[in-house]
C-alpha cells in the first residue's frame, strides 16, 4: 500500500464554519434595515454620506495597512466597511464631504491603525471619528435635516433640532418637561424613525430588527445591549419618578438620539467590549448610566458616544479583573 504524504498538526483537526469575514458580513447585513429607513427619511444625503464614508474608510484602511503598517491589508474581512457605515450612521445626512473624509481618516487612522489594526484598538473607531468631528466641527455636526422635508437636497437641506436638542435647550431655558414634550412627535412615530438625527440612529425599530438578526446568527450576545437599556430605563425612570417636571420619561430616552444605535451596534463591537458575560453586563450598565448622566447634566444633549468611549477605556481593566466562572471553583 502506498503511503500518502500526510499532514500532521495538533488537535483539533476540524474547524467550525465561523470566520471573521462571516461575522463582519453578518453585522453589515444587520445594518441594512436601519440604512434603508435612513435613505427613505433623509434621501440622497444619507446615501451620499454612507457611500462616501464607506469608500474613504476602506481606502484609508488599505493605504495605512499597506504602506504604514506593512501588513497584508485586511479589507476583505469587512471591518473597515462596518466602521464606515457606523461612522455615517453617527453623523447628520447633510455633513459636507470633506468632513466625512476627515472623520474616516481619524476613525481608521487614529482609532484603529494607530493601535496596530483590527483587534488592537481600545476605542470604537467609528466613535473616535464621530467625536473628533463633533468637537472640531460642531456647527456642521449639529445641523440636522428635518425628516422627509428635503430628501432630494443635500447641503442646503432644511434643518431642525433633534428631540433631545430641543429638550436640552428647553430645560436650560427653564420650561417644564411637559410643555416641551408636546412638541415631540408621538413615540410610535419615533420608534419608526420620524425624527431629526444622525443617519442611522433614527429608527429604533429597524435597529432592533437588525439586532435580532445578529442574535439569531449568534454574532453577538444579548448581554451588553440588555444591560445598557435596562440601566437606562432604571436610572432615568428613577429620576423621572423623583421629578417628572425636570426629567423625561425612560421611553423618550430609549427612542431618541443614539441610544438604540449605541446599544445594539456600537457597544456590541467585539474589539472594544469585555470578553466575559459578567464584564459585558457591567460594561452595558456603565454606558447606560453615563449616557443619562451626560444627557441630563452634561453640556451636550446626547451622550451615548462619550459614554461608550469612556467605558471602552475601562474594558482592559475589566478583562483583567472580571473572570468567567471557573469550573470547579466556588
Amino acid at each position: 500500500m502506498s503511503t500518502p504524504f500526510l499532514t500532521v498538526s495538533p488537535s483539533p483537526h476540524i474547524h467550525s464554519d465561523a470566520s471573521v469575514q462571516k461575522l463582519m458580513y453578518g453585522v453589515i447585513i444587520a445594518m441594512i434595515p436601519a440604512m434603508a429607513v435612513s435613505f427613505y427619511v433623509f434621501g440622497i444625503g444619507a446615501l451620499f454620506v454612507t457611500l462616501l464614508s464607506v469608500v474613504s474608510c476602506v481606502v484609508v484602511e488599505f493605504a495605512l495597512s499597506k504602506y504604514l503598517l506593512k501588513k497584508e491589508p485586511t479589507i476583505v474581512d469587512g471591518s473597515a466597511v462596518i466602521t464606515g457605515i457606523l461612522l455615517a450612521f453617527n453623523v447628520p445626512s447633510n455633513l459636507p464631504w470633506w468632513a466625512v473624509i476627515i472623520g474616516s481618516i481619524v476613525a481608521i487612522g487614529i482609532g484603529k491603525s494607530a493601535f496596530g489594526g483590527l483587534g488592537n484598538n481600545p476605542f470604537n473607531p467609528a466613535l473616535v471619528g464621530r467625536v473628533f468631528l463633533l468637537i472640531s466641527f460642531p456647527v456642521q455636526m449639529t445641523s440636522w435635516p428635518v425628516p422627509f422635508v428635503s430628501r432630494f437636497q443635500f447641503l442646503d437641506a432644511t434643518t431642525g433640532a433633534t428631540p433631545l436638542g430641543e429638550l436640552k435647550e428647553g430645560i436650560s431655558a427653564g420650561s417644564p418637561v411637559s410643555d416641551l414634550m408636546s412638541e415631540v412627535p408621538s413615540y410610535l412615530y419615533l420608534l419608526a424613525g420620524g425624527m431629526a438625527g444622525s443617519v442611522g440612529e433614527i429608527s429604533a425599530l429597524a435597529l432592533i430588527v437588525g439586532f435580532l438578526y445578529m442574535l439569531w446568527k449568534k454574532i453577538v450576545t444579548w448581554h451588553t445591549p440588555v444591560a445598557m437599556l435596562a440601566s437606562i430605563v432604571v436610572f432615568s425612570g428613577m429620576l423621572w419618578m423623583i421629578d417628572p417636571t425636570r426629567f423625561v420619561d425612560p421611553v423618550f430616552h430609549l427612542l431618541t438620539g443614539g441610544i438604540m444605535l449605541g446599544a445594539l451596534f456600537m457597544a456590541t463591537d467585539y474589539v472594544t467590549s469585555p470578553m466575559t458575560h459578567k464584564g459585558m453586563l457591567i460594561y452595558g450598565a456603565g454606558i447606560g448610566i453615563l449616557t443619562i448622566v451626560i444627557r441630563t447634566w452634561g453640556a451636550y444633549p446626547e451622550g451615548v458616544s462619550f459614554a461608550i468611549l469612556i467605558m471602552n477605556g475601562v474594558v482592559p481593566l475589566m478583562n483583567k479583573y472580571i473572570k468567567p466562572k471557573r469550573f470547579g471553583i466556588k
Binding site: 499532514t7 500532521v8 498538526s9 495538533p10 496596530g116
Partner: protein, 332 residues
C-alpha cells in the same frame, strides 16, 4: 486676570514644595542600605540582563559577586574574561581566566540531506512541534527549523539559514549565554570551548538511532560506525547509543577524525583547507555527499559580513511568509 495667574503660580509652587518635603521625608525614612560596590560591579557588567550567568539580570549577578567569598563559581559569559577581571579588581579578589565558549548546532540535516516525509501544519513553534511528534522528516532528533533558538538569542548572534533550514551561530556575536541551549526542545545546541585559534571539531548530529535507521532518515546522520573513535589517538571520541561525541577537553584538534567519517557529520570550524589529502578527498567525494563547506564560511562571518545582513533579511521574509506565525510583526 493677573491675580488669577499669580494665584495659580503661587499654589502650584507651594504644592511643589510640599511634595518635595514629603518625598524627602519618605526617602530618608525608608532608605535601604546597599553596598556601593554593587553599583560599581554592575557598572562593569555588560548590562544585557540575559541571564546567561544563571542570575536574573545583571544587578542580581552584581549582588551575588559582592556577597561571594571568591569568584570561582561566578562568570559573566557575555563580558568574558575582561569583564570578570575588572569585577575582581573592584572587589579586590582574584579570578581565573576561563576559556571562551560558543554555541554550536549539532544537526546538519539540511533540506537536501533530510527528506520530508510529512507536512507539519501546526503553529510554527519548535516546542509545540516537538511535543506533538518526531517532526516532518524521518529524524526525530533533528532540528525542527522554527528558530526558537534564534528568538531566544538576545545578541542577534543566530539566524535561520533559509537554504538549509538550520540555525547558524555567528561566532563573533555569540556570548555563550546558554539562552539558545535552554530554548531548544531537542537539545541540539551545545556550548563548546571556542578552541585554540577559534578552531573546533564536533559531531554535528544527535541521532541515537541505529546506524541504518539514522542513515535512512538523514544522509549526514552519525551512524555510530566508530571509525572516528578508532582513529582518535587521544580517546576524545566516545560512542554512546550509536552516536559519537567529541570531548573538547581531550580533543587536540588533529583533524584525523573528520576525513574518516563516512556521513560527514564531523564538522571542522575555522581550519585552513586541507592540502596534502586533496586527492583522497576527491576520491571519497564520489561516494558521499559533499562536505558542508558553507558552514565554515557562515560561522566565521563577522559583524560587517554581507552574508549576515542578507540572511537576516531572508529570515525576516520567511517569518512574514509563515501563515500561522504568531507575533510575526513583533519579530519583524
Amino acid at each position: 486676570m493677573s491675580q488669577t495667574i499669580l494665584f495659580t503660580i503661587g499654589s502650584i509652587t507651594i504644592l511643589g514644595f510640599l511634595a518635595a518635603a514629603i518625598l524627602y521625608f519618605i526617602a530618608s525614612k525608608f532608605k535601604v542600605y546597599e553596598d556601593p560596590k554593587i553599583d560599581e560591579v554592575e557598572a562593569a557588567l555588560p548590562k544585557t540582563n540575559c541571564g546567561g550567568c544563571g542570575h536574573p539580570g545583571c544587578r542580581a549577578f552584581a549582588e551575588a559577586c559582592v556577597k561571594a567569598d571568591d569568584l570561582a563559581d561566578l562568570h559573566c559569559p557575555v563580558g568574558g574574561n575582561p569583564t570578570m577581571k575588572s569585577v575582581a579588581e573592584i572587589l579586590g579578589m582574584e579570578v581565573e581566566e576561563r576559556d571562551p565558549y560558543v554555541a554550536v548546532v549539532r544537526c546538519s540535516g539540511s533540506f537536501e540531506y533530510r527528506e520530508k516525509v510529512n507536512v507539519y501544519d501546526g503553529s510554527p513553534n519548535c516546542t509545540i512541534a516537538h511535543n506533538l511528534y518526531g517532526g516532518d522528516t524521518g529524524c526525530q532528533y533533528g532540528c525542527l527549523g522554527f528558530g526558537e533558538c534564534v528568538d531566544a538569542c538576545d545578541f542577534e548572534a543566530m539566524y535561520m539559514d533559509e537554504k538549509t533550514g538550520l540555525p547558524v551561530v555567528i561566532q563573533d556575536k555569540c556570548t555563550a549565554c546558554n539562552a539558545c541551549v535552554t530554548a531548544c526542545p531537542r537539545d541540539i545546541l551545545e556550548l563548546r570551548p571556542m578552541g585554540r585559534k577559534n578552531r573546533r571539531i564536533f559531531v554535528s548530529c544527535i541521532n541515537i538511532d541505529k546506524g541504518g535507521a539514522a542513515k535512512k532518515a538523514c544522509e549526514v546522520a552519525c551512524t555510530g560506525c566508530s571509525k572516528c573513535e578508532s582513529e582518535c589517538k587521544y580517546d576524545a571520541i566516545t560512542i554512546v547509543n550509536y552516536l559519537a561525541y567529541i570531548d573538547a577537553d581531550k580533543c587536540k584538534l588533529c583533524r584525523k577524525c573528520a576525513p574518516v567519517c563516512k556521513s560527514n557529520s564531523i564538522h571542522e570550524i575555522n581550519f585552513p583547507p586541507r592540502k596534502e589529502k586533496e586527492e583522497k578527498e576527491e576520491r571519497v567525494k564520489k561516494e558521499r555527499p559533499e562536505r558542508v563547506k558553507k558552514d565554515d564560511a557562515i560561522e566565521t562571518a563577522t559583524l560587517n559580513s554581507p552574508v549576515e545582513v542578507d540572511v537576516i533579511e531572508m529570515v525576516k521574509k520567511a517569518n512574514e511568509g509563515e501563515s500561522n506565525e504568531p507575533d510575526s510583526d513583533d519579530k519583524a
